[in-house]
């Protein structure tokens, strides 16, 4: 174990000398996909609660497809599947985008976590107390103000405990990036394993790193919950 750490510690943490690798890459994947997912989820969660089937229908289909299939399949479709289409190979912009493993990975992860987050936020919006909405209408808030001041802040607070679970699951899902040749923690561990055949140490180091990241995230979310959900404390 010691020699694997001595040889690979730099690659495990931030760089192999050429590109960003290891923990830095994993965190970048996590932050980028969560940001994309959040931006997708917020408008879609509002659309999901619309009374018009033409608006909530497509959102339902999106959530159904992306939560009903494994992320690995979605990554395969986007990474190897889309690139095999001739229209993608012959369009300059698309060719440039889908040729890179990291672009495909972040796109797949963002769409995937976007679907789960939509479901979480939509549930939280649905649970808004009718009294809050009626009170806001009674003092003459417009629909936009109602969403901006009342519904969305309340829904995001209520969604926080479930959303923190989704973030941890997303951290676990970033390991799939190594199948698209993205040098995250698991890719480094896999390289170390192929070079040394010390499987337990190589993957053990990766497991410890992921454990540390998980605990840090859980700790941060606990703090956030204590701050944002302070009014719920007994």
């Amino acid at each position: 174990m010691i020699d694997i750490i001595q040889t690979y510690w730099r690659a495990f943490l931030y760089s192999d000398g050429y590109t960003m690798t290891g923990v830095a890459m994993t965190l970048w994947l996590l932050v980028a996909s969560l940001a994309i997912g959040f931006c997708i989820a917020l408008p879609l969660a509002i659309a999901r609660n619309s009374r018009n089937p033409a608006i909530w229908g497509p959102v339902w289909v999106y959530v159904f497809i992306f939560t009903g299939t494994p992320l690995y399949v979605q990554l395969l479709i986007i990474y190897t599947g889309v690139y095999s289409l001739s229209i993608v190979q012959h369009t300059h912009f698309l060719n440039e985008f889908f040729r890179k493993g990291i672009d495909c990975t972040i796109l797949a992860f963002g769409l995937n976590t976007g679907a789960y987050t939509t479901a979480i936020f939509a549930g939280a919006i649905r649970d808004t107390n009718f009294g809050e909405v009626e009170a806001a209408r009674a003092i003459g808030m417009s629909v936009v103000t109602l969403y901006r001041r009342i519904i969305i802040p309340g829904a995001l607070r209520r969604a926080l405990p479930v959303y923190s679970n989704e973030v941890i699951l997303m951290l676990h899902s970033t390991t799939l990036a190594f199948t698209a040749t993205v040098p995250d923690i698991l890719k480094i561990a896999n390289d170390a394993n192929s070079a040394t055949y010390e499987s337990f140490s190589a993957f053990g180091v990766a497991a410890l790193l992921y454990l540390c990241i998980s605990f840090t995230l859980i700790f941060m979310f606990r703090r956030a919950e204590r701050h944002f959900l302070a009014f719920l404390r007994p």
Binding site: I65, P70, Y72, V73, L76, L85, H172, F200, A207
Partner: protein
């Protein structure tokens, strides 16, 4: 309906492998979950500590990392074991390794589900069963388990969906499941996109069908409960 270019057979076989793997994983993790929950709720400090370490570590480490860790290390440990006893080398196939690792991983999630469900059953139920002269195991089987399942089912349904989707990872350690079959078909026909979509459709059908089964189970275990009429 679909033009599978002669790859229908392997894809069907792969789908069956995926289903078998999910069901066996469910069985293993279900049992581990019951054991883990009993350990967490037992009076023994050691059992509690072991179960807590188990669930904390497993739930903090990604399943793919654990799978590669266990898959590669298990074979090495087995080789050491067979060498030590002068036995013939025993090769672990990806299917068995997949069931063992996935079962071990999701056992931790089931432990948490069952722990919450056991705590939701009123303490008096088991006390009443014991006072009627039921032995602990009989009381567990007749009284505690059926009531516990009612609370555990939503969590179980969720875990099952996660297991079903996690079996996709086993193709990474070389199992010929539905993903491997569709990827081979895609490479053979140069239609990767089309066959990857087929893999997605297979999973979508499986998750939707199991949703229907789980809904039926929820109704079965809700017999005798009353809901407020709104």
């Amino acid at each position: 309906m679909f033009n599978l270019a002669g790859y229908g057979g392997p894809i069907l076989a792969g789908t069956l492998t995926t289903i078998e793997l999910s069901i066996l994983t469910l069985a293993v993790s279900f049992l581990l979950g019951l054991l883990g929950a009993s350990a967490k709720l037992s009076k023994s400090r050691i059992a509690q500590a072991v179960a807590t370490v188990y669930t904390t570590i497993i739930r903090g480490v990604p399943d793919l990392v654990l799978m590669l860790l266990i898959f590669y290390s298990l074979q090495i440990w087995l080789n050491d074991l067979t060498d030590a006893f002068n036995l013939i080398q025993f090769n672990l196939d990806p299917f068995t390794a997949g069931v063992i690792t996935l079962g071990f991983i999701y056992g931790a999630y089931f432990t948490e589900t069952f722990r919450g469900a056991f705590m939701a059953v009123p303490r008096g139920q088991m006390e009443a069963a014991r006072s009627l002269g039921m032995r602990p195991l009989l009381g567990f089987r007749r009284i505690l388990f059926p009531q516990m399942m009612r609370y555990a089912l939503p969590g179980l349904a969720n875990n099952w969906q996660v297991i079903l989707k996690a079996t996709a990872l086993v193709s990474i350690i070389g199992l010929s499941d539905v993903i491997k079959a569709t990827q081979d078909a895609g490479k053979g026909t140069f239609r990767t996109f089309y066959f990857s979509i087929i893999a997605g459709v297979v999973y979508l059908v499986l998750t939707t069908a199991s949703n229907a089964v789980l809904l039926m189970l929820t109704k079965r275990y809700a017999i005798g409960t009353r809901k407020a009429a709104l």
